[in-house]
Amino acid sequence: MTYPATHHEDHFRAGHALGLDHLKVGMWLFLGSEVMFFGGLLAAFLHYKVNNPTPEAGLLDVGLVGVNTFVLLTSSFTVVSGLAGIQRGDPAAMNLYLLATIGLGVAFLGGQVYEFVSLFRHGITLSSSVFGSSFFTLTGFHGLHVLVGILWAASTFLRGMRGSYTRENHIGVELFGLYWHFVDIVWIVLFTIIYLI
């Protein structure tokens, strides 16, 4: 991003003096807003789970989704390992880990689809009941966020293959990582609230 500067200036002088990168500040603020967005959906889910508990919840497959949780956690590990790679100046490692992340993300979504379909077979859909409505909306939006993450991972991977990231300059990888880990954290919370408790 170029600014119409007349001299060599640090536009983000104040941020740098505080040890803050403006892109990271922006990303964390965005993630803060996403916390509240999922919070709204979560509040709706919890409201009904506590006040209108239904036996439909017994049909949830904790085992399968537990495996899915491992998958997503592993993908967080691959993302951060990819970041560590480019920090070492090893773009090949970064690209490999990004590819692994994409694979794991797709696997996670596959697992979610499988879970959704098996619930459909039991007659639980978006419109079948309040449980169906709140379950599919909450997990559906999480899945959408994973999908966006996969697309972002692919874009980061393509840039990585073109050599856009170096040991000195890889903020884009870090920003992508923050988003991906956030989506993982949301899943950690969702898994507990929906499947365990």
Partner: protein, 546 residues
């Protein structure tokens, strides 16, 4: 082409094309003007809808509009005014002024900034287009199940508000990042102008509260189009859940609508009193306190919803506590102008009008926070009067103050003071005439959101309608002034008000990159009356062409 050349000659500087205001442009000053002009258009739309409302209410009986039409006009009056005018116009001011006030060349994310603006015209068109398919009719609060059953326009309304909320969140990310990371050298947080503090507090609210409304609106949309059961009792849904999701945003939203406005007032008073602001830190901290407290009190809008009675008292108490930081501001402003060398230019008139009108609105807000009072006046015209005093008497007065105050900076021209005074008095008389009777008629029992009323309320309604029409007319001297002065008004210099904040230390309008050299700040923004007045270094270069 010829007209543009002669205009340029008169301005004595090269004129960038006015077409840039109609295109994608990442300059925060262009975006700021785009926001202000676009939202003012929607102000006129919302105002026209209000004229329809007041015309219907001139007489008891459903005469001009039928009940459904009235509900649609009333709903969109509120929705347009809140979502398409007051919230985004304040963001527009923030966009134009904040980078200048902090000595930066632009916002942290200029492209995100442009994107945030460009969500507004389609969202506005969507909301207005809803009239073609059966406009939203459930009030701006869209309570379920009415909003689930309403015609298609209600879905368009929901999508429109989601888009506007997204724009608001983008602005919040941009403002906070910009203010934290792009302040000029020497500009510590305790030297930030109070308008910037207001924007910080507002952005915190926008960032945290708006997404919850987005979630709620998605649930409403899903109930409407996907058959979900979130809010339909027959399917196990709970209408009160919508109220929680809605008000969790919409209460902080009223502070989003007033904190930047109060920031504008804090800018105007010291300049037009030639005195430092009284209690700078307390005013700054009070903005943050109002923001934090404001996030916790939403259920005071739900006292009659059947909520657990034991929870009502804590909400009452916390709501009343917000009066404390608000009072701190009012007393500080009064102390600022006390014994000041007052100049009654139009911005100052509107700022003073703000104080009295916001006071009436704010105090009646405290009445409403008291549960026993609220149980009687909830959903009556008492509430309508309260909200118009804070939003119209308060926020809109402050917007006008800001428009006049920063008019020379933005346009490079000075407005006409006599027209400004005319506008002010018509606005002030109109506001009081329109809304004071509403307190009375509400206490007498007239419900809100009705096209018909008991004939005993007629006189008060007629007074209110006359006041409303006067307000409608009051816009005319403002529009005339704004347009003619921009085209033909006297050229303004860099600092016609002799103010000390950084936006006045560069030309009017500022050059594309805001400052010839980035300023270095050595003192606070309100050091008026100092023995040896200092201006921020370096000495500003003369405006090009002078």
């Amino acid at each position: 082409m010829e007209r543009m050349r002669s205009l340029a000659a008169r301005l004595r500087r090269p004129a960038p094309s006015w077409l840039r205001y109609f295109r994608w442009n990442t300059d925060h000053k262009v975006i700021g003007v785009q926001y202000i002009v676009t939202t003012f258009f929607f102000f006129l739309v919302g105002g026209s809808l209000a004229m329809l409302v007041r015309s219907e209410l001139l007489q008891p009986g459903v005469d001009l509009l039928n009940g459904t039409e009235y509900n649609r006009v009333m709903t969109n009056h509120g929705s347009v005014m809140l979502f398409l005018w007051i919230i985004p116009v304040l963001a527009g001011f923030g966009n134009y002024i904040v980078p200048l006030m902090i000595g930066a060349r632009d916002m942290a994310f200029p492209r995100l900034n442009a994107l945030g603006y460009w969500l507004i015209p389609p969202a506005g068109l969507l909301m207005l287009a809803s009239f073609f398919v059966g406009a939203a009719e459930a009030g701006w609060t869209a309570y379920v199940p009415l909003s689930i059953r309403a015609p298609d326009g209600q879905t368009l309304w929901a999508v429109s508000v989601i888009l506007l909320g997204t724009s608001s969140i983008m602005s919040a990310v941009n403002f906070l990042t910009t203010i934290v990371t792009m302040r000029a050298e020497g500009l510590t947080i305790w030297r930030l102008p109070l308008f910037v503090w207001g924007i910080v507090a507002t952005s915190v609210l926008s960032l945290t509260a708006t997404p919850v409304l987005t979630a709620g609106l998605i649930l409403v949309a899903l109930d409407r189009v996907a058959g979900t059961q979130f809010f339909l009792v027959a399917g196990g849904g709970d209408p009160v859940l919508w109220q929680n999701l809605f008000w969790f945003y919409s209460h902080p939203a009223v502070y989003i609508m007033v904190l930047p406005a109060m920031g504008i007032i804090s800018e105007v008073f010291p300049v037009f009193s030639r005195k430092p602001i009284f209690g700078y830190r307390m005013i700054a901290l009070s903005s943050m306190a109002i923001a934090v407290l404001g996030l916790t009190v939403w259920a005071h809008h739900m006292f009659t919803s059947g909520m657990d009675p034991r929870l009502r008292v804590p909400y009452m108490v916390s709501s009343m506590v917000i009066a404390v930081p608000t009072g701190v501001k009012i007393f500080s402003w009064l102390a600022t102008i006390w014994n000041g060398k007052l100049r009654f230019n139009t911005p100052m008139l509107f700022a003073m009008g703000f104080i009295s009108q916001f006071l009436i609105g704010g105090l009646t807000g405290i009445f409403l926070a008291a549960i026993p009072i609220d149980l009687h006046v909830h959903d009556t015209y008492f509430v309508v009067a309260h909200l118009h005093f804070v939003l119209f008497g308060g926020s809109v007065s402050a917007v006008y103050a800001g428009l006049y105050y920063w008019y020379p900076k933005i346009t490079g021209r000075m407005y006409d003071e006599r027209l400004g005074h005319t506008h002010f008095w018509m606005n002030f008389v109109g506001t009081n005439l329109a809304y004071l009777p509403m307190f009375l008629v509400g206490l007498l029992g007239m419900p809100r959101r009705v096209a018909d009323y008991d004939p005993s309320f007629t006189t008060l309604n007629q007074l209110a309608s006359i006041g409303g029409f006067l307000l409608g007319a009051s816009v005319l001297p403002f529009l005339w002034n704004a347009i003619i002065s921009w085209l033909r008004g006297p050229v303004a210099d860099a600092n016609p008000w002799r103010a000390l904040t950084l936006e006045w230390q560069t030309s009017s309008p500022p050059p594309e990159n805001n400052f010839e050299r980035l300023p270095v700040v050595t003192h606070g923004p309100y050091d008026y009356g100092e023995a040896a007045p200092r201006s921020p270094e370096p000495v500003p270069s003369p405006a090009a062409g002078e």
